[in-house]
């Protein structure tokens, strides 16, 4: 295991692990609950997200340099370690399936409506598997490059829409009432809690101590993007129409008309955004492969990668025969799922680690 990932690349991984699907579904959900105060909900979630990011980083800092699962095992016992490993592996696998399906649904809706979804899923899983075949540092480099791309494209897209933005649409504030804003906060918060990927990635960092910085910057970066999309789509379309849209980001880009020839270029933004989506899929697949390989003491991660990819393709096709079932899954069933794995389990791990603070050193000496 080489420590090669720079801090910037870690930030890129975090941002790309949260934003792509979040930017797709969060504005719709937040605005659906809180109409023109959706952005307030996102702001609150951002603040909470930073707190979660700090908490995760604090857990990571205690890691003396081992891989996450090895560390858990050394502190909390082998059985617990394996159990957590398998659990996390299952979580990442499920999350991977969910986001691949979401991406495939989106592409089908927007662009390729007659292509069988099997083909799209196979392509996506194959590309994600290929990205991690070279190891996480190659993927970190790709993530950094994709991040630069996003930093160029997003301001341009916003700038092109400038004429249509009317901030008055955001008024009046707090119109929706505290309960609805509160409900709207849940979805962005859950997506932002994906920063727990840092637990797995941190041991590969070149400077493990800067994980706090990476975590906070990553969380803020994602929140900023979410906020931007929410604010701008509300201010262009008004709070009523945007509730109807499944993908407000792309409606927003779709109405750009500069001069007579730059029109209908949303597919270009989709392509760029699609690359961030691929990075996210690769990150989650890596999480799954990593957890399974270490928890089950398997020798070759290549084989695990291959088999998990095949299993993923099968799962995605079979579990959700219709898009609506997936939509419902994302809205309702994923809430406890995410809460459990991103909030509760790290909390349990933190408690466990606190409890066994003294044991770590002793166990290290006794290990063969």
């Amino acid at each position: 295991m080489k420590r090669e990932i720079s801090t910037l690349q870690t930030v890129a991984i975090v941002i790309n692990a949260i934003t792509p699907t979040a930017v797709l579904s969060v504005p719709g959900v937040a605005i659906g609950f809180a109409s023109n105060d959706g952005w307030i909900a996102v702001l609150i979630a951002a603040a909470a997200g930073v707190i979660i990011a700090i908490a995760m980083a604090a857990i990571c800092r205690r890691n003396p340099g081992l891989l996450f699962l090895e560390w858990i095992e050394s502190r909390l016992g082998t059985a617990t370690g394996i159990f957590i490993g398998v659990l996390l592996g299952v979580y990442y696998f499920n999350a991977f399936c969910m986001i691949v399906r979401e991406f495939a649904n989106f592409i089908e809706d927007m662009v390729l409506d007659e292509t069988p979804i099997v083909m799209l899923i196979v392509v996506m899983v194959a590309v994600s598997a290929f990205s991690i075949a070279h190891g996480i540092e190659a993927m970190a480099r790709s993530a950094a490059l994709v991040l630069y791309l996003i930093m160029i494209i997003v301001p341009i897209s916003v700038g092109l829409n400038f004429d249509d933005i009317n901030f008055k649409e955001l008024l009046p504030f707090f119109d929706a009432g505290a309960t609805r804003i509160g409900l709207a906060t849940i979805a962005p918060l859950l997506w932002l809690s994906e920063v727990s990927i840092l637990l797995i990635v941190q041991p590969y960092m070149k400077y493990p101590k800067s994980v706090m910085r990476a975590s906070v910057i990553g969380s803020i970066g994602s929140s900023l993007q979410l906020l931007l999309v929410t604010v701008i789509s509300t201010s262009i379309f008004g709070a009523d129409v945007v509730r109807m849209m499944s993908y407000p980001l792309f409606n927003m880009v779709g109405i750009v008309e500069v001069g007579e020839f730059v029109e209908r270029i949303e597919i270009f933004t989709i392509s760029v955004w699609g690359m961030t989506m691929y990075v996210k899929m690769a990150v989650f697949l890596f999480g799954a492969v990593h957890c399974f390989t270490h928890a089950l003491r398997l020798k070759s991660s290549m084989h695990v990668l291959f088999s998990i990819s095949l299993l993923a393709v099968a799962t995605i096709i079979v579990t959700w025969p219709r898009n609506t079932e997936h939509g419902q899954y994302v809205m309702i069933e994923s809430v406890p799922f995410f809460t459990l794995f991103n909030l509760i389990i790290p909390a349990c791990i933190a408690i466990g680690l606190l409890a066994t603070r003294g044991r770590g050193a002793a166990k290290g000496e006794q290990a063969p």
Binding site: D109, M110, V111, L112, D113, E114, T115, P116, M119, V122, V123, A126, K168, L171, P172, D175, F237, G238, D240, V241, M244, M245, N251, G254, I255, E257, E263, R264, S300, M302, H303, F306
Partner: protein
């Protein structure tokens, strides 16, 4: 072992390659498309009648190739299909057209007055749900049938659909009497607090039929497409018309005036009365609600700056008091226009001025009360108008020509 994985990946790759040879699912060649430039929506009492104005590329472009040259061909072709719902009507087009309809370059959708009065929520649903038709399409309403409008040729433009969009854009930008309403704007307006919207009208002036290529061989066209009045919609349906003057007032109150021209009457020392024409180049309107003793009223502050482009009264334009006179005349003119529009809106019971949103934003608590019956609240709210007109330039002449001739007459 690695070679096994590699060969497995090869198999996958080969399967993917087969994709290219059998023809892919979403692929459609350019010569399989029927490019629509304008759509018309009619209602015949029971069915939706969709009309399409389809381009014939070979007749339009003068490029090299096998097609082209020879007999002149019409650049567009129009046909209609019927169905119980809009998409069903579109499906029937497959029985008629050898090519698949392609809506992405559609520029305008013309709805007939019947459709407007019936309500067209289905149309908006189609536009938002499908990725093909775009939400930036301009909407226009016409008193006759939409199909007739689609069949009309226009002067100066080969593709009538583009020409219609160009007309409305040019109008919105240069005369600002009628606004350009794209589909998403319509949707926003209809779901907003006031639930009212406007639509520009397009009609055919003149009687003769100009759907043959003959029209291009003469210098004048006997019948033309023109923009007319403003249609007012409330609660998804059309309820009436506003004339052009009132429509200008609506534009002012919505702060959508970019450039327009007004004429103010003037009289000079000889008793000769004529008109001064001013081109307004910049205008901003602030419409503010005011709550005094539980009663809602509105105050509109208009800042306008303009340029004199024509003057018919004998006057020396470099005298400040002449300028002030012209300015106050213009201000009065604008005031009248705004008040007239407001009154008409109140009469029709349609708040197309965006007054509801402003009230909601400023007085959210009171809004909860008002929103239950906004029409009556709005109907009783008076409007005060304050206009500040500034004539920035006089143009290149410093005296009106009438002045010169008068002076000569005198002696």
């Amino acid at each position: 072992m690695r070679s096994t994985i590699r060969s497995a990946m090869m198999v996958v790759l080969l399967l993917l390659l087969c994709v290219a040879t059998t023809g892919c699912w979403n692929r459609i060649e350019l010569n399989e498309l029927a490019i629509t430039s304008a759509t018309g929506v009619d209602w015949d009492g029971q069915n939706w009648v969709m009309s399409y104005q389809v381009l014939i590329p070979a007749a339009i472009s003068s490029g090299i190739g096998t097609a082209g040259g020879g007999t002149p061909q019409s650049p567009v072709i129009v046909y209609s299909t019927k169905g119980k719902s809009i998409r069903e009507a579109m499906m029937h087009s497959y029985s008629e057209s050898p090519r698949k309809l392609f809506y992405a370059h559609n520029r305008v959708v013309i709805i007939s007055e019947e459709v407007a009065r019936r309500g067209f929520n289905e149309l908006l649903d189609v536009y938002f749900r499908n990725s093909g038709p775009r939400e930036t399409v301009s909407m226009l309403v016409t008193p006759g049938t939409a199909r007739r409008v689609l069949e009309q040729f226009m002067q100066l433009v080969i593709i009538p659909g583009e020409g219609m969009k160009d007309i409305i854009m040019s109008e919105a930008r240069n005369a600002s009497v009628l606004p350009n309403i794209p589909v998403y704007q319509m949707a926003m307006n209809l779901t907003s607090d006031a639930k009212s919207s406007v639509l520009p009208e397009i009609y055919i002036s003149g009687n003769e039929d100009t759907s043959t290529l003959d029209s291009f061989t003469h210098t004048t066209i006997p019948s033309k497409l023109k923009l007319g009045r403003l249609a007012i919609l409330h609660n998804d349906r059309m309820i009436g018309w506003m004339n052009r003057k009132q429509s200008l007032g609506v534009s002012f109150l919505r702060d959508e005036v970019k450039q327009t021209t007004i004429t103010t009457p003037c009289t000079d020392e000889q008793g000769h009365s004529g008109f001064d024409t001013l081109v307004i180049q910049r205008s901003s309107t602030k419409l503010k609600p005011k709550l005094t003793e539980g009663k809602l009223s509105y105050n509109a502050k208009v800042h306008v700056s303009g340029v004199l482009t024509e003057s018919d009264c004998a006057q020396n334009l470099y005298k400040p008091d002449i300028i002030m006179k012209m300015e106050s005349a213009a201000e009065q003119q604008i005031q009248q226009v705004l008040k007239g529009a407001w009154k008409k809106g109140q009469q029709m019971g349609a708040d197309v001025f965006g007054a509801a949103e402003k009230a909601h934003r400023k007085y959210p608590k009171a809004w909860k009360q008002w929103s239950k019956d906004w029409n009556s609240v709005f109907g009783e709210a008076p409007l005060e108008v304050q206009v500040d007109f500034r004539i920035t330039r006089m143009g290149l002449s410093n005296k009106s020509f009438q002045y010169m001739t008068d002076k000569n007459k005198k002696g």
